[in-house]
């Protein structure tokens, strides 16, 4: 734990007077110490992840069926119970206290991706579309809601969607607004009772969310803190439960979900990266392994040796907006909310002013790259001067084995130049705030043959 010493002293002195602890929720760049984590049963964790209603509000099933009438067989997951067995993997059903069957989005909405016919759990969904106003889906679902019990269930969900909608609409398909979603939910909940308020209780975050790429779950096994700025310290199991905040309206509900949080974390920590599915030039990969050791391993680790280090913004050089917003005081009211809530304490939310160099397990699958998903493939990550200012994925998506990433199209102009809203949303415009693709220039001096070799090695990683 690298809490700012002054902040730590203040936190101790001002316990019980937490509104005055502004500025204390920070970590320093550099090494991230390990914190003790809860034990858990990975098998029980998987079962909970794919069956339990940790997001307990959603669309009444009758209405859900009208919107999503059929499930692609390839979207079904093994080990799911009852109605869940027939639902797409990203949805979970349960019956509420009024006897209404509710279908809710689950963690796999963002943390699983289908590659061909295989669902890869833990792989961030880099094609999810958060550019639309989610109230549109809520209204669409409401069209098919009838009767008091269904209406009450729908309204519980719709109220929350109404509360968060202004803060979670990204500029580009593929990037994720999760941090802003979390802050927006906190703005509407009492931290001690977790009771929902339709009117914000503290100032919500800015409406334009800073984009992030969803980090793969299989790196959890290596990491001593969660997320790019290592904001998630302390008990990761509890911190993860912030993902269920949409509908947890009481401490009692929180505790019910928390009973299996340790198991879920144990499952995530048991995940391993998927194997590269295409051919690998093993000779070239061997050459690349040596180059990787020389050029990359110090920050990203090698084998089971992962350094868990945060690097300062002026050293890594990547888009600063996300890390600055996390550490400039503008989010401190949310860290204080966590400290006052069952989701954590004064040590739980402590970002550092920089970005962690992530483990590179299965990095071939996690394109696009950098914390904001601004670089389409590995080759461009190592060739910083060739990165496109404006680009979009080729649809349908095609994997580029040479560059390692999903094929993209370089564009001549950004979003401002496009009138059509649908076409505009496809464009990754690196001139937008928080969407920058600069930095991580560590491959700029490498020879092209060296870049190819490192990429080939990373296919084996």
């Amino acid at each position: 734990m690298r809490l700012n010493p002054l902040g730590l002293i203040l936190a101790v002195l001002l316990a019980g007077c937490r509104e005055e602890t502004e500025g204390s929720y920070r970590s320093e760049v550099g090494s991230v110490p390990a914190m003790e984590q809860r034990d858990g049963d990975p098998d029980a964790g998987y079962d909970a992840l794919v069956n339990e209603p940790y997001v307990s509000c959603g669309i009444p099933y009758e209405a859900f069926q009208r919107i999503f009438p059929e499930t692609d067989p390839a979207d079904r997951l093994p080990g799911r119970d009852g109605l869940n067995a027939d639902l797409p993997y990203a949805f979970t059903a349960h019956e509420n206290n009024d006897g209404v069957t509710i279908v809710s989005s689950n963690c796999l909405t963002c943390h699983a991706t289908r590659i061909e016919d295989e669902i890869v759990i833990g792989l961030g969904n880099e094609f999810a579309d958060f550019t639309h106003d989610p109230r549109r889906l809520a209204l669409q679902a409401g069209t098919y809601v009838r009767g008091n019990a269904e209406t009450q269930a729908w309204e519980r969900w719709a109220d929350r969607v109404e509360g968060i909608a202004p803060y979670i609409q990204t500029r580009t398909i593929g990037v994720n607004p999760a941090p802003n979603l979390t802050w927006a939910l906190m703005a509407h909940r009492d931290p001690e009772t977790l009771e929902w308020s339709n009117a914000p209780l503290i100032a919500p975050p800015p409406e334009d969310p800073l984009p992030i790429s969803v980090p793969p779950w299989w790196n959890m096994r290596h990491k001593t803190a969660m997320f790019y700025t290592t904001i998630g310290r302390g008990d990761h199991s509890t911190f993860m439960l912030l993902a269920s905040m949409l509908c947890v309206d009481s401490v009692e509900e929180f505790r019910a979900v928390d009973t299996y949080a340790g198991d879920v974390r144990a499952y995530l920590a048991s995940l391993e990266a998927p194997d590269y599915p295409f051919e690998i030039d093993t000779d070239l990969a061997r050459t690349g392994a040596k180059l990787y050791s020389r050029e990359c391993a110090e920050c990203h680790g090698e084998g089971d040796d992962y350094p868990n280090r945060v690097y300062p913004l002026d050293e890594i050089g990547t888009d600063t907006a996300y890390a600055r917003a996390a550490t400039d005081g503008s989010r401190d009211r949310f860290y204080e909310w966590i400290a006052r809530s069952p989701y954590g304490d004064e040590q739980s939310a402590a970002p550092a002013p920089g970005y962690i160099a992530p483990p590179l397990d299965g990095v071939w699958a996690t394109a696009p790259y950098l914390h904001n998903g601004s670089v389409p493939n590995l080759r461009l990550l190592l060739r910083p001067d060739a990165r496109p200012n404006y680009w979009r994925h080729v649809r349908p998506r095609i994997y580029d084995e040479a560059a390692v990433g999903w094929r993209y199209e370089r564009l001549q102009a950004g979003q401002d130049a496009v009138d059509d809203a649908a076409a505009r949303r496809e464009i990754y415009d690196t001139t937008l705030p928080g969407y920058g693709n600069k930095g991580h220039r560590f491959g700029a001096e490498l020879l092209e043959t060296e870049v190819k070799a490192i990429i080939e090695f990373l296919k084996t990683h």
Binding site: E70, L139, V145
Partner: protein, 373 residues
């Protein structure tokens, strides 16, 4: 037939439209205190969802689709007499299936297997007074569809289609206590159809501009009328009226030949986001869908109704190539049914493609009662 630029959205707009209209057309049943139970029964009926590809077939699709759980016909016509007097007509029919056709063998003809409902509104030349009538019936001989005669009827109201020389047009006869209209309608633009998608359990089409010729009969006189009309048709898995969602619907006919439909979807009885689904059909029949980002809507005037509810009666619509001001021309009519609906003809003026335009239309509002933030 012409696909909308985004025909998938056409059917959504149609669905929303017709749900709103279905809220309008069930007054008699509500008055009889039966409608809740009947519509619940309809909702529970085991109609198989429509599946498979479909192709719009006109004029046949003017007729009923008995295998569909529900369907609607809705017409808004704007009429003028040779003397320049203006009238507006709103006429809607709805059919709710109770028992699927394949389960009707052996049943008594008096068994309730379908509900038919309809509403007729005539806004007179003064723009205020309204002649209104409702019809509600079961199938047994008082309402239905005769595919041989190519007629859909409800009591003395009828819709005829497919006769020699009518092409894709239709003929409508509808009446209130002191007014009867007989209108012949000929489409001036190709129909906009819903998406021919095997997943689409709800299907239909819109005829955005039909030319109208016919007669209006009142106790005082029978006069020739001509004008312009909008027709929406929908059948399939249409939800019954009620629920937490409210809709506003605006249809416009501009003097340059453009026709516009705007559907706003909102939570009933409370503030919050409204989403817009709009269709602009150019004079050449080319249709384009406008989502929220392509249409800016400003409410210019709220008007308090007799029951105290306030309604947005004047709208400004701004799109890429139009800027229009719309105002309800009449006092408007509120019908207190399961879904209270306020309706009025509108006049419109403004700019389209840089040129001045004017026009007529119809505004239908729901969900403004007991509003809360």
């Amino acid at each position: 037939m012409r696909d909308c630029a985004s025909s998938r959205f056409t059917i959504k707009a149609l669905i929303k439209t017709c749900i709103a209209i279905m809220g309008l057309v069930v007054p008699a049943a509500a008055a009889a205190g039966m409608i809740d139970a009947l519509l619940d029964e309809a909702a529970e009926a085991q109609f198989e969802p429509l599946t498979g590809n479909w192709v719009l077939s006109l004029p046949a699709d003017h007729g009923a689709h008995p295998s569909a759980r529900a369907e609607t016909w809705s017409l808004a016509a704007h009429l003028e007499t040779p003397g320049g007097e203006e009238y507006d007509v709103s006429w809607s029919l709805a059919r709710f299936g109770i028992v699927p056709p394949e389960e009707r063998n052996g049943r008594s003809p008096w068994d309730l297997v379908e509900l038919h409902a309809g509403q007729f509104l005539l806004f007179d030349a003064e723009g205020g007074a309204v002649h209104s009538a409702v019809r509600f019936s079961r199938l047994a001989g008082t309402a239905g569809h005769d595919p041989e005669k190519r007629e859909v009827w409800l009591d003395e109201w009828s819709l005829l289609y497919g006769a020699a020389g009518m092409g894709e047009g239709l003929s409508v006869r509808a009446s209130g206590p002191e007014a009867l209209v007989h209108l012949n309608l000929v489409p001036e633009k190709t129909a906009l159809r819903g998406n021919e998608d095997s997943q689409a359990a709800t299907r239909g089409f819109t005829m955005p501009r039909l030319s109208v010729a016919g007669t209006l009969q009142t106790p005082h006189a029978t006069v020739e009328v001509t004008g312009t009309a909008w027709l929406d048709r929908l059948w399939g898995d249409v939800p019954p009226p009620g629920g937490p969602i409210a809709y506003d619907r605006l249809t416009l006919h501009l003097s340059d030949g453009t026709d516009i439909s705007v559907v706003q979807t909102r939570r009933a009885g409370r503030d919050g986001l409204g989403t817009f689904d709009s269709i602009v059909v150019g004079p050449d029949g080319q249709a384009s869908y406008l989502g929220d980002e392509a249409l800016e809507v400003e409410i210019l005037e709220w008007r308090q109704g007799q029951t105290g509810s306030k309604y947005p009666v004047s709208w400004r619509l701004q799109g890429k190539d139009f800027d229009l001001s719309v105002i309800a021309a009449a006092q408007g009519v509120r019908q207190d049914f399961l879904t209270p609906v306020w309706q009025a003809p509108v006049s419109v003026n403004g700019q389209r493609d840089g040129k001045s335009v004017e026009g007529t239309g119809m505004l239908l509002l729901s969900g403004y009662e007991q509003r809360k933030p």
